[in-house]
């Protein structure tokens, strides 16, 4: 008579609807790899505004949000399209024009801030940063080692995103999220955020998770809701399911105006719902 955890599967549009204007979002993956891009596109379709993006290495996601005018602020480590596509043009323009506010981090200081939130502590010391102008830029405090090592260390304040949103390889009905290959920064993001949303390549039966529970990056009880969106990381990669769709990224980059309708309509989740 043991009751199961509840079913958390919703549609992509229902998942996006959980996110309100002005929310701060930690997005999983890195550059063009295993990002929750279908969800980002759906937020744009729904006209979300005033978002903050938190990510060590955003690229396509932040560029898209800037191009759509959906972003107000970002805390980011390194921003680029990568894979020979260079800088993220719409992001660059948004920062240079003052359209969005940038809090520039090193990747590891984003992680430190997420760790402070994940560990429930008021700050996280971060190694390195000696001589960098970033701490002063951000008003970070340093501290002398009270144990006498004479090593000063920078203290990074907590970063607790409203949502962490990751693209997983597979989920269970109750929300267990399996990730294959590198987890990028997804682990610490899901521990630091107030709520976790998952987009997944596929739904697998509970038995599959019971056979290899070690592959579950996020246990179901930490997950708010899940949408199953095959090819949801398009035009990026989701190993081992698919690689980067280079022609699609080239087409995205080649477009010079802010109208995203063609790109959004070309996305796998749009074509599926058009067919449905």
């Amino acid at each position: 008579m043991v009751l199961s955890a509840k079913d958390k599967i919703v549609s992509l549009s229902e998942l996006a609807a959980l996110i309100t204007d002005g929310s701060s979002l930690a997005l999983g993956g890195s550059f063009l790899h295993r990002g929750p891009f279908a969800l980002v596109r759906e937020l744009i379709r729904q006209g979300r505004r005033g978002l903050e993006l938190i990510k060590q290495s955003p690229g396509y996601d932040i560029d898209l949000l800037c191009r759509a005018g959906a972003l107000r602020r970002t805390r980011a480590g390194i921003v680029a399209m990568e894979g020979n596509f260079g800088l993220a043009r719409w992001y660059r323009q948004a920062v240079e024009s003052g359209q969005i506010e940038l809090e520039e981090h090193a990747c590891a200081t984003i992680t430190a801030g997420l760790r402070a939130a994940a560990f429930g502590i008021p700050f996280q010391p971060c190694g390195g940063l000696q001589g960098s102008a970033l701490p002063a830029l951000n008003g970070w405090k340093s501290c002398e080692d009270p144990y006498g090592s004479r090593r000063d260390v920078w203290l990074i304040p907590p970063i607790a995103p409203d949502f962490a949103i990751i693209h997983a390889n597979a989920v269970s009905r109750s929300g267990d999220a399996r990730v294959l290959g590198t987890a990028h920064w997804d682990r610490i993001m899901t521990r630091a955020a107030k709520k976790v949303l998952v987009v997944a390549e596929e739904l697998l039966p509970d038995e599959s998770f019971r056979e290899r529970p070690e592959l579950t990056l996020v246990p179901h009880f930490m997950v708010e809701a899940v949408a199953v969106v095959p090819r949801g990381a398009w035009p990026g990669s989701c190993w081992p399911h698919y690689e980067i769709d280079y022609p699609a990224v080239e087409a995205y980059v080649a477009e010079t105006d802010s109208d995203l309708s063609g790109h959004l309509a070309a996305a796998p989740e749009a074509r599926v719902s058009a067919n449905a």
């Binding site: 008579m1 043991v2 009751l3 199961s4 955890a5 509840k6 939130a117 994940a118 560990f119 429930g120 502590i121 269970s172 109750s174 267990d176 521990r191 509970d206 998770f209 019971r210 529970p213 070690e214 579950t216 996020v218 246990p219 179901h220 009880f221 930490m222």
Partner: protein
């Protein structure tokens, strides 16, 4: 176990289980057979879902038998994820742990605990297991509960020999009484119906008055059946050595 009567063992396990609430994240750790059984009992006996995580990395496990060690990998059998030690501690310190079962050697009236030492720390009469989870989990879990298989002034004390963990227990179960925290103090909620209020007060080392306390409601049929199923051979009850005196 005669129907609708408590043994000391069933009293502790069942009343610990009664602290578990719907949809909460509930944790049992090492050296914690009775809370482990309480969590398994609650899964079976109550009509609500809760998340049971444990020190073996299990999340809502499906053990094929009840292990003797409460950190046994059997408690991760059938789990759909492995939630390792660092992970559940971090969950607790960031405020995501709803109910934590934590052991104690001595408990005072504020619900502080000593698991370190009997006597002076630097010249111990008895060296106890030590710090464990309490010092970090007791102040950071939303609620914590503890249990003792002995109810006496030497375990429920006015003054701890050492304050290992502070922050205050939400609940305490002994073989003869259930305490809950009210206004920062452990107060008697109910007592074993075969005992008297006076006896409970006399055997409690910290001051209580028993106002508002009642005899503990008897085990329900489902609680009894669930516990019987967990301890078919009675081995856990025997090993726990719980007496009412």
């Amino acid at each position: 176990m005669p129907e609708e009567r408590w043994s000391g063992f069933s009293y502790i396990v069942t009343n610990l289980a009664r602290f578990i609430r719907p949809n909460e994240v509930t944790f049992s750790g090492v050296n914690s057979n009775l809370p482990m059984m309480a969590c398994l009992l609650a899964k079976d006996a109550y009509d609500f879902y809760f998340t049971y995580i444990n020190v073996a990395g299990g999340v809502d496990p499906h053990p094929t038998k009840v292990p003797i060690s409460s950190s046994d990998p059997m408690l991760a059998a059938g789990t759909q994820s492995i939630f390792s030690n660092e992970d559940f501690y971090d969950l607790c310190t960031r405020g995501g742990m709803d109910l934590c079962f934590l052991g104690a050697a001595q408990i005072d009236g504020e619900g502080q605990t000593n698991v370190s030492v009997i006597g002076d720390w630097h010249a111990p009469k008895v060296r106890l297991p030590g710090g464990g989870g309490g010092a970090v989990m007791l102040p950071t879990a939303r609620r914590s509960c503890t249990w003792r298989t002995e109810h006496s002034p030497r375990v429920l004390v006015e003054q701890l020999d050492f304050v290992t963990a502070s922050g205050g227990m939400h609940g305490l179960v002994t073989p003869i009484a259930v305490f809950v925290k009210r206004d920062g103090r452990l107060v008697l909620q109910s007592w074993h119906p075969e005992k008297t209020l006076d006896e409970v007060i006399a055997r409690t080392g910290f001051p209580i008055d028993g106002k508002g306390a009642t005899p503990t409601p008897p085990p329900t049929a489902r609680e009894q059946a669930a516990l019987a199923a967990l301890d078919l051979a009675g081995a856990f009850e025997e090993a726990a050595h719980v007496t009412l005196d």
